[in-house]
């Protein structure tokens, strides 16, 4: 848990010895600390909250995709009995946004609307029905502008730009960087493949719609309880827009009824209810409808991709040139980071000696895209893993063997300067190959049946925070009380993944107490140390380290006093089963509460803090902030399908998945994350898509849970899960992420299985029956995009790789920019 070689105190050495003797908690599967509340309906989600005198808020949203606001007439709404306040954008002119480089949103639109669903006017009324009636009485006069709905048109820059910032016109962000000599690499290859692929956008679809309740405290402070994954960033945005010092704004994140990235942005409705609460001096609540959640979106970017890769005869790669064009929607959101992420992690699974990435994100008049589980990496992963399958076929190799031969080495640095730590992809592939009977199935099943293999990797937390600062990414306070209770405070937010339980288990492991003795206070900016939020698969690693450090410091104080009292060296003390005792004479000890009392008598109140900052990354070039992580997880999956030759319907029969998690903290929760990721990936692979009517001004085609198809029990096949555990030096107890990585192999594995079953390539996600049929009827036995536009790259940043003797910097930065995006 520490990097330095300085000798440990006897108390800390005692903890190391205790852990080396075997874990009490880690790796086991106690029930989640919040499980009983959830199964009895006692968990209070944001919309379950209410307060006396509470008002209800509704937001009037734009019904046009792109227009100037000429006038807003709210008089009829204000005249409606029961309406208490009407709010327009003029009252909140300060912009906000998740990234410092794209502060381009307003809580309510000021002068322009940029997509159907953009918020324009808000009403607070005595009940929801009155608020709804009121927004229908508001008249907004629009001057329609010519909208743009796809990035291949947007990049031409013929429309009025959506924003007055960005790289040019509707090009929000343009990136180009080359590591090593890609053209030389292609010249040295035995086989060069070029593929154009498309990954359609899709959305998180959490079961809980976003809701928020805000009120002004008697002393003038503002409090909001909200379904957010990132209370810290909401705190910053609210403080900025409402012009209140952060110390007087309190954000409490409720347990999220599913997030998946969809509750990671600070949202306009959160700021709106806060403003209305300040205006009316009454609590104000908003609960979005399902349709509104579809328009809030911030989900998977549609990405058109072109990938050119050189292969040697043995399947190893000589170099890769990856291009991506992202359809960003109406606002920045996490988009700059998303753009970089479509080019960041291609290099951490297999050895790519030379690598070039060009990426462009365009603004379009649709709901903004952002981070969904896998953030920016499932799209390129799909393209890469499908192309590897094609390469294997072209080279006469087994796709599993090809991958095993070209794995990136553990502990190595990639061409784009990412530091790989532990790397268990090889064992993952071997496990699923063996369990699925791959060798007897691939290329050998009867027509219509097939198997496909794909792999992936994901970050265990972003190496850099979203806004530049040198402070820790996670903090935890542990406070011991005389009764033996342990109060733990942390800003982390449980969105269903079980982070509360991970927090409690880490502390319980160190202090040897029962989970029931631990009381958590989480996700509250007034009372808990900052944790940056539940995004980028960062919580277990970062919070876990901080919790370990805080608990270790508390344990040290207790051990010092108990050692004196028992007259044994502190190094011999063990904390287990709610006791502190001499490991050489276990009878010589005392109950944990007594130990706390002894220590408190000597040292005073025991409250210790711990925190965590990720290690520095070797990459120093501009844009190197996206991709680094303390550790990378790895996954491999085999999918078996049955394709109906008449209808093109793809039925998934079984999935085998292996995930290198480093070390499970709670094995049951890890498997739950794997299965959930597999499920969500399967939905993306087969059916989920955000689609809009461009001929009807960008209206969402299917903003309902019935018509936006997602897998039901009928579509979910059996899944066999294998965990590969080889502790990572950078993880707490060796743990790495599991929340996002296992989703990624699903889409390419399904596409590859369809090829094995019916011999056609669907180079597009989702793999729907019509596409399979069209591919079967096509001369080239393929369905997918035919061309890739010129990204108009004028300058490429060139960075020498480690092999070339580089030092991680770019010798000649192309040009100065306003502000650098650190990460997400």
């Amino acid at each position: 848990m520490r990097n330095s070689d300085e000798p440990l105190s006897p108390e800390r050495q005692g903890l190391r010895d205790q852990l080396a003797e075997g874990y009490q908690m880690i790796g086991k599967s106690p029930i989640k600390v919040d499980a009983m509340a959830k199964v009895t309906g006692q968990t209070m989600f944001a919309d379950d909250l209410s307060m006396p005198r509470m008002l209800h808020c509704k937001i009037l949203r734009s019904h046009v995709a792109y227009a100037r606001i000429l006038s807003i007439d709210t008089s009829a709404a204000e005249a409606l009995p029961g309406v208490i306040a009407v709010l327009t954008g003029a009252a909140m002119p300060i912009p906000f946004g998740i990234l410092p480089v794209s502060q381009d949103e307003h809580a309510l639109c000021l002068d322009r609307v940029r997509f159907v669903g953009d918020p324009v006017v808000a009403v607070a009324a005595v009940d929801e029905e009155t608020a709804f009636e009121a927004i229908q009485r508001i008249h907004v006069e629009y001057e329609k502008l010519e909208p743009v709905f796809d990035p291949t048109t947007a990049i031409e820059n013929k429309q009025e730009p959506l924003h007055d910032y960005g790289d040019d016109g509707n090009v929000h962000k343009r990136v180009s960087m080359e590591f090593g000599e890609v053209e030389e690499a292609f010249a040295a290859a035995d086989l060069v493949l070029e593929d154009t692929m498309f990954f359609e956008g899709n959305t998180h679809l959490p079961m809980e719609q976003h809701a928020s309740l805000a009120w002004r405290e008697a002393d003038g402070r503002l409090t909001i309880q909200s379904s957010t994954q990132t209370p810290h960033y909401l705190h910053k945005a609210m403080s900025k827009v409402l012009e209140m010092p952060p110390s007087r704004v309190r954000v409490i994140a409720c347990p999220n009824g599913g997030g998946f990235g969809g509750k990671s942005d600070p949202f306009n409705h959160e700021i709106v209810v806060a403003k209305l609460a300040l205006m009316t001096n009454r609590p104000v609540k908003i609960a979005l409808t399902r349709e509104e959640v579809f328009y809030c979106h911030r989900g998977r970017h549609p990405v058109l991709m072109h990938v050119k890769t050189g292969f040697r005869k043995d399947g190893s790669m000589t170099g890769m040139h990856f291009q991506s064009l992202l359809d960003g929607g109406g606002y920045g959101s996490y988009g700059v980071a998303s753009t970089y992420y479509t080019g960041a992690l291609q290099t951490v699974t297999y050895k790519v000696p030379a690598y070039r990435f060009d990426g462009v994100r365009c603004f379009t008049n649709k709901p903004p895209c952002g981070p969904k589980r896998g953030h920016g990496t499932p799209q390129p992963r799909f393209a890469l893993e499908v192309q590897l399958d094609k390469a294997a076929v072209a080279l006469g190799l087994d796709p599993a063997d090809l991958r095993l031969r070209t794995l990136h080495p553990a502990g190595g640095i990639t061409a784009n300067w990412l530091q790989v730590g532990s790397m268990g992809l090889g064992p993952c592939i071997e496990k699923v190959v063996e369990a699925s009977g791959w060798k007897d199935k691939w290329g050998k099943l009867p027509a219509g049946k097939g198997v496909g293999l794909a792999c992936s990797s994901y970050i265990s937390g972003a190496g850099l925070p979203i806004y530049w600062n040198a402070m820790p990414h996670s903090g935890v306070t542990v406070q011991l009380d005389r009764g033996g209770g342990v109060a733990v405070f942390c800003g982390e937010t449980d969105i269903g993944q079980g982070s509360d339980t991970v927090l409690a288990m880490v502390v319980a492991e160190v202090l040897g107490v029962d989970l029931a003795d631990i009381r958590l206070t989480v996700a509250d900016t007034h009372t808990t140390p900052v944790d940056l939020g539940s995004y980028s698969s960062r919580v277990t690693v970062m919070m876990g380290h901080a919790a370990f450090q805080a608990a270790e410091r508390a344990r040290e104080v207790v051990a010092r006093s108990v050692a004196k009292r028992l007259e044994v060296p502190a190094v011999r003390l063990r904390f287990a089963e709610n006791r502190v005792f001499d490991v050489q004479d276990p009878e010589n000890g005392m109950p944990f509460p007594k130990a706390v009392q002894v220590a408190e008598a000597e040292h005073g109140t025991i409250a210790m803090a711990g925190s965590y900052t990720p290690p520095a990354s070797p990459g120093k070039y501009r844009g190197a902030g996206v991709g680094p992580s303390p550790a990378y997880s790895y996954s491999a999956a085999v999918v078996q399908v049955d394709v109906d030759l008449e209808t093109g319907v793809v039925a998934v029969e079984k999935i085998w998945v292996a995930h290198d998690v480093g070390q499970s903290i709670n094995e049951m929760l890890v498997i739950g994350q794997v299965e959930g990721g597999v499920y969500m990936g399967l939905g993306e692979a087969l059916m989920e898509e955000m689609s809009y009517r461009s001929n009807r001004f960008g209206v969402h085609k299917i903003p309902s849970m019935l018509e936006y198809k997602s897998p039901t029990t009928h579509e979910m096949p059996p899944v066999e899960t294998f965990l590969i555990e080889s502790p990572d030096p950078n993880g707490p107890f060796g743990a790495k992420e599991v929340g996002q990585g296992p989703l990624l192999p699903m889409m390419p594995a399904v596409a590859n299985a369809v090829f094995d079953a019916v011999g056609v390539r669907v180079d597009e996600v989702p793999v729907t029956p019509d596409k399979v049929l069209k591919a079967m009827q096509a001369k080239d036995k393929r369905y997918g995009p035919k061309s890739f536009p010129d990204l108009r790259i004028t300058e490429t940043m060139r960075v020498k790789t480690l092999e070339q003797g580089g030092d991680g910097t770019a010798p000649r930065p192309p040009r100065a920019e306003k502000q650098e995006v650190k990460s997400s």
Binding site: A35, K38, G41, D47, E78, V126, E675, Y679
Partner: protein, 173 residues
């Protein structure tokens, strides 16, 4: 903002009804066009019943009406007259949690927990009809309940575990 002298409340007349919920009779007044979901959540503060779409598409608001799973978002509160309503709040008794609840907790069948009340009540109805349901039965019977976290697998396992325990008469061991 308006001066305090103006009428600030719309006139909405309420109906008064006795609702039989979780074995108890409740005298409830509510606006007559409210759905049962809204009456439970807003007028009775039984917020354990969740909503995912309020259009009958997701199964999240499932409750039991006379033992039969119903979508409370598609029923008016008025329609519950004379019926026995069971919500998640009525599932655990004084002597502890229902075996389904225990099994869901033990096996991690509740991740975010938002769809969980609906699944638990739907599962209770399944077990009432078929104490040892096959996996195929569960797939069929739970096809109307969406879960975005678990991929349904832990939910099946938890129902099967609870069913086995209920058969043996050992609620949670």
């Amino acid at each position: 903002m308006k001066p305090a002298t103006e009428p600030d409340s719309p006139a909405r007349s309420k109906v008064q009804m006795i609702l039989r919920v979780n074995g108890e009779s409740h005298d409830v007044a509510f606006v007559p066009h409210k759905t049962l979901l809204e009456v439970l959540r807003e007028d009775m503060r039984l917020t354990g019943t969740k909503h995912g779409c309020e259009l009958g598409e997701c199964g999240t608001c499932t409750i039991l009406v006379d033992g039969v799973p119903r979508l409370s978002c598609l029923m008016l509160g008025l329609e519950s007259d004379g019926h026995d309503i069971r919500t998640i709040e009525g599932m655990a008794g004084a002597c502890g949690a229902h075996p389904l609840q225990t099994a869901f907790a033990e096996l991690g069948a509740a991740q975010c927990g938002y769809c969980t009340p609906g699944f638990l009540l739907a599962a209770e109805a399944v077990l009432a009809r078929d104490p040892t349901p096959s996996r195929a039965t569960l797939v069929e019977e739970l096809g109307g309940n969406l879960c975005r976290c678990t991929g349904y697998l832990k939910i099946y396992e938890a129902i099967e575990l609870a069913a086995a325990r209920m058969q043996k008469g050992t609620p949670d061991a």
